[in-house]
């Protein structure tokens, strides 16, 4: 999930500028810091935060500075570039915000540092989605792919092996996750959509799209293939070569028949394809659907009977971090889970890892709309105050339990990743 896009960065840069001005004002107003180059003052607590744009809200860093005195410097990159940076330049960041499926590449590289669960205050309050693979009500959820609980623990502080049983060494402290599905234009399709197979339905010839990020695109493709009854995968997130061949064959036939209008790679492309009516059904991400809707265009993040493809991300630190910086990192992660940030993420349509603290920071109406599938009593607003939904609206897919409970698979890195990437290139060239 590379939610960072040029467009987002544009917006972020603008808001970050405002934020920086605010921060300086705050520092000047508080009178605590008198030296002019504020950032250089000896006591400034600065953490370089590498991640995608998903969690990098300017509001979050401002609030964090106000609450803890820690100044967050965002380094924004796409999912692939974040991974590349961790592998090649581990000294260029302090805190890493990344997805669980990247861990299969990151942990063996030895460039990240496992955090100590005992120092995370809310660790025992984490949603059991991460620790046990089940909902708070005990329902088990899909475990295909790189599900977070498979890669949550390490065997030791410097171990490169994932532990099957809980240990105190945690690879990523979970922060945010969501369940992804297809986005549709109900005004142009004009009939109910209930299955992933619709993506390849000839009815939408030349009006469908899928994302061109191989590791995620193939999972969406697998959902389609399985839904159409052509093959049942043992694990969609870890296909055999024969399964990759089959999946790509079906997709290639559809591509040759002209099923796809375009493939998309960044958030903004997906918004444009959908908003302009170039596509009417495509793989999509939740905030992209919200963005299309905020333009006044009908767009549904359609729940499908075969379930969702889920992703999750969290925090760890670079192995180069030590001393007071490590303490700040713990302080930052603890602050992040303490509720304000969680509520902020929930209001964007994501889910926070510690539900209880986020709930305490949201109104009952907000909690009802975003988490419980209830109709909104008043207007639902985005964190920046713009109105997302009018009173009476309900969330696509319903409550947390309905959406997360219907997760079928998780973003993954396959054992046959190398082969898969080659086959994907072949698909694009076909």
């Amino acid at each position: 999930m590379s939610k960072s896009s040029k467009f987002d960065r544009l917006i972020n840069r603008r808001t970050v500028l405002k934020g920086a001005a605010g921060a300086v004002g705050l520092a000047a107003g508080s009178g605590a810091i008198t030296g002019f180059p504020y950032v250089r003052s000896a006591d400034a607590k600065v953490l370089r935060y590498l991640g995608t744009a998903v969690n990098e809200g300017d509001e979050i860093s401002k609030k964090c500075l106000a609450d803890t005195g820690i100044k967050i410097e965002y380094i924004t990159a796409t999912t692939d570039d974040v991974t590349k940076r961790v592998i090649t330049q581990p000294n260029s960041f302090d805190v890493l915000d990344t997805e669980y499926f990247s861990l299969k590449k990151l942990v063996p590289s030895g460039n990240i540092f496992a955090l100590d669960a005992k120092k995370i205050k809310e660790f025992d309050n984490l949603t059991p989605v991460f620790t046990k693979g089940q909902l708070p009500n005990g329902k088990k959820i899909g475990d295909q792919g790189t599900a977070p609980w498979k890669v949550l623990y390490l065997e030791g502080a410097n171990s490169k092996t994932f532990s099957k049983t809980p240990t105190e060494f945690v690879t990523l402290i979970p922060t945010v996750y969501n369940a992804d599905t297809l986005g549709i234009r109900p005004d142009l399709i004009k009939r109910p959509i209930s299955s992933w197979t619709e993506l390849l339905n000839p009815e939408f010839k030349g009006k469908a799209s899928i994302l061109n990020i191989p590791s995620i695109g193939i999972m969406d493709a697998a959902m389609v293939v399985e839904a159409s009854g052509q093959h049942t995968y043992a694990d969609k997130g870890n296909m055999t070569k024969a399964e990759i061949d089959l999946t790509m064959k079906i997709m290639t036939e559809a591509k040759k028949a002209g099923q796809f209008r375009a493939f998309w790679k960044d958030f903004n492309e997906s918004v444009n394809l959908m908003a302009s009516g170039e596509t009417v059904i495509q793989s999509m991400w939740s905030p992209a659907v919200t963005k299309v809707r905020s333009m006044g265009i009908a767009c549904t993040f359609q729940p499908l009977k075969e379930g969702y493809r889920s992703w999750a991300s969290g925090f760890c630190v670079s192995k180069a971090v030590s001393g007071p910086k490590l303490d700040w990192a713990y302080e930052f992660v603890n602050w992040y889970l303490s509720g304000w940030a969680g509520a902020y993420l929930n209001r964007q349509g994501y889910y926070s890892a510690v539900l209880s603290t986020a709930e305490a920071n949201m109104t009952a109406d907000e909690w009802g709309y975003w988490m419980e599938g209830k109709a909104a009593v008043g207007d639902i607003k985005a964190p920046d105050g713009t109105i997302l939904e009018k009173a009476g609206a309900t969330r696509d897919g319903g409550s947390y339990d309905e959406r997360m409970g219907a997760v079928a698979c998780w973003n993954a890195v396959m054992d046959e990743n190398d082969y898969m990437v080659r086959k994907w290139n072949e698909f694009i060239a076909a």
């Binding site: 590289s109 061109n212 302009s276």
Partner: protein, 277 residues
Amino acid sequence: MMLVFALFFLLPLLFVTIVSAWDYNEYEMIPAFSLRGYSDTFEGCIADLPNLCTILKTYLKTLKLCLLTWVLTLLIGFTVAYFLAFHVRSKTWQIVLTLLCTIPFWTSNVIRMIAWIPLLGRNGLVNRGLEGAGLIHQPLEWLLFSEFSVVLALLHLFTFFMVVPIFNSMIRIDRRLIEAAYDAGATGWQTLLNIIIPLAKPGIVIGSIFVITIVMGDFVTIGVMGGQQIASAGKIIEARLNALQFPAAAANAVILLGITILIISALTRIVDIRKEL
């Protein structure tokens, strides 16, 4: 000068070549000799005959786009340069008009390309206009996310690289030669073919080198305008890099470099730039 060249060009190139012959796994390069990057790239090239393998298909497509873009930028670029050099008399206007050619570069790549959707899209300006004029009844799908749109965007971007060197060659042509040709009774076409084109050749070749090298390595324009459905040599490298398969990416880069060098050396065979300059 030599040092800069060695440090920032030859050395990195050497590294790329060395790495292309390394082995790799999910997260790191292994400095052991392996031609896996290359053998994977040419996978199926013999087994799949008579069907073309991925890499050949990709290069054929890239070459086709490159050729189309080259021919069209040359035609348009030459015409624009001719107009600027021979029809615009004042130096100021020549400069102003040349600067106008840079307008496509005033916005960012992404915004520029997104802007094509409202123009060429299914509900775009062109389709609406044609439908309004009663010329078509169904929107034309091939206007966007097709080879047509890719070539159009490439033209829009890179014609400038043809205009400048050709213009530069043309203004250096001694006007007395043209007058002499006129006096000797040559027609406009004869002057063009026998005097202007031969003397503008260095500019044409330099412009061609710019356009060909850029288009051969391009993956952003082809990706966005082709709806990510058209393969390009650069795209393969990008996909490999994103999967952290650096040696495989390096191998593809070496192959691309080799092919581009072949084309360029063929071009310089036709015109010896060093002699002409």
